[in-house]
């Protein structure tokens, strides 16, 4: 009954941003790279055989999706994996809570019907 796996319960906008960010092979590669170690935009540009400007654009997309954070120290902008994962934890609980709350609000109605019916039947029996 693990219906959650079957549902789409992401906050839509963030999901869109994440999905758009991950739709590109280079950006997925950048994330994998940053998973291994932080890197400067210059490092990443070299690694992916790209111009600095091109890599800046990719990193910008990842940054807006919350998947990467950057910090400039002197002339070097260092990239690392973003806090997205932490938000994921809260979102994870919230997805479960939303499912169960929605279910139980419906169950309230069923229970109320049964309860009412039981009372009416009980009254009839007594009469």
């Amino acid at each position: 009954m693990l219906i959650l796996n079957y549902m789409v319960q992401y906050p839509q906008t963030r999901f869109d941003a994440s999905f758009a960010a991950l739709s590109d092979a280079t950006r997925r590669g950048v994330l994998e790279q940053l998973g291994r170690a932080d890197a400067s935009i210059t490092d990443l540009a070299e690694k992916f055989h790209m111009t600095l400007t091109g890599m800046k654009k990719h990193v910008g997309v990842l940054e807006r999706a919350g998947l990467v954070t950057t910090k400039k120290v002197g002339r070097v902008r260092t990239c690392r994996l973003g806090l997205h994962r932490l938000e994921e934890e809260a979102a994870w609980i919230e997805r479960h809570r939303r499912l169960w709350a929605a279910r139980f609000d419906e169950l309230d109605k069923v229970v109320e019907d049964l309860h009412r019916k039981e009372k009416v039947d009980g009254r009839k029996k007594r009469e």
Partner: protein
């Protein structure tokens, strides 16, 4: 008195709490304004179960529901907006204590499914329901509810895999 309470709309909704109590456990609690036998009945009668398990507000459609509520008995739920695109959830009841306790396996995902236990505790005409899910591993619980994968197909599965891979790595560093 009682009459007054009955006339109040049931819209004063109770709070649903969800807590991850360990790496492998999820606990959901909710109070219902009715005796345990009624809540239990709604949970174990297919015609009633089908009315609430797949809330329309979440865009879910439960097409069919079979349940043989006794220890060792099976259940099978089929979801899907149309007949050509359905998804089945199934398992077995491992504990059945009328009005008190119900537990079942979730077998659609092979070995990764949890055992779900629900207890119904009646107090003053109300029922405190506690649903407990015990997963075989941390990873299995992490993956529950991440998504999208089944609904949107391969692309999202890849996305999920990537996020899990990245997360795993970030977690270890």
């Amino acid at each position: 008195m009682d009459a007054k309470r009955e006339s109040e709309p049931a819209s004063a909704k109770m709070r649903t709490t969800v807590e991850r109590t360990s790496e492998r456990e999820l606990v959901v609690t909710r109070t219902f304004n009715a005796p345990a036998r009624i809540v239990f009945e709604a949970w174990t009668t297919p015609d009633l179960f089908i009315r609430w398990w797949a809330p329309k507000s979440l865009g879910m459609v439960l097409r069919s529901c079979e349940m043989d509520v006794r220890v060792g008995g099976g259940y099978r739920l089929v979801f899907g907006a149309d007949a050509s695109n359905t998804h089945a959830f199934f398992g077995r009841y491992v504990e059945v204590k009328p009005h008190t306790r119900l537990a079942w396996t979730n077998d659609e995902g092979g070995d990764e499914g949890p055992v779900t236990t629900v207890t119904f505790e009646e107090k003053g005409g109300r029922t405190l329901l506690v649903l407990h899910e015990l997963y075989p591993s941390k990873d299995a619980l992490d993956a529950a509810g991440t998504g999208a994968a089944d609904a949107l197909g391969e692309t999202f599965e890849q996305l999920d895999e990537l996020l899990v891979r990245l997360g795993g790595r970030a977690g270890r560093s």
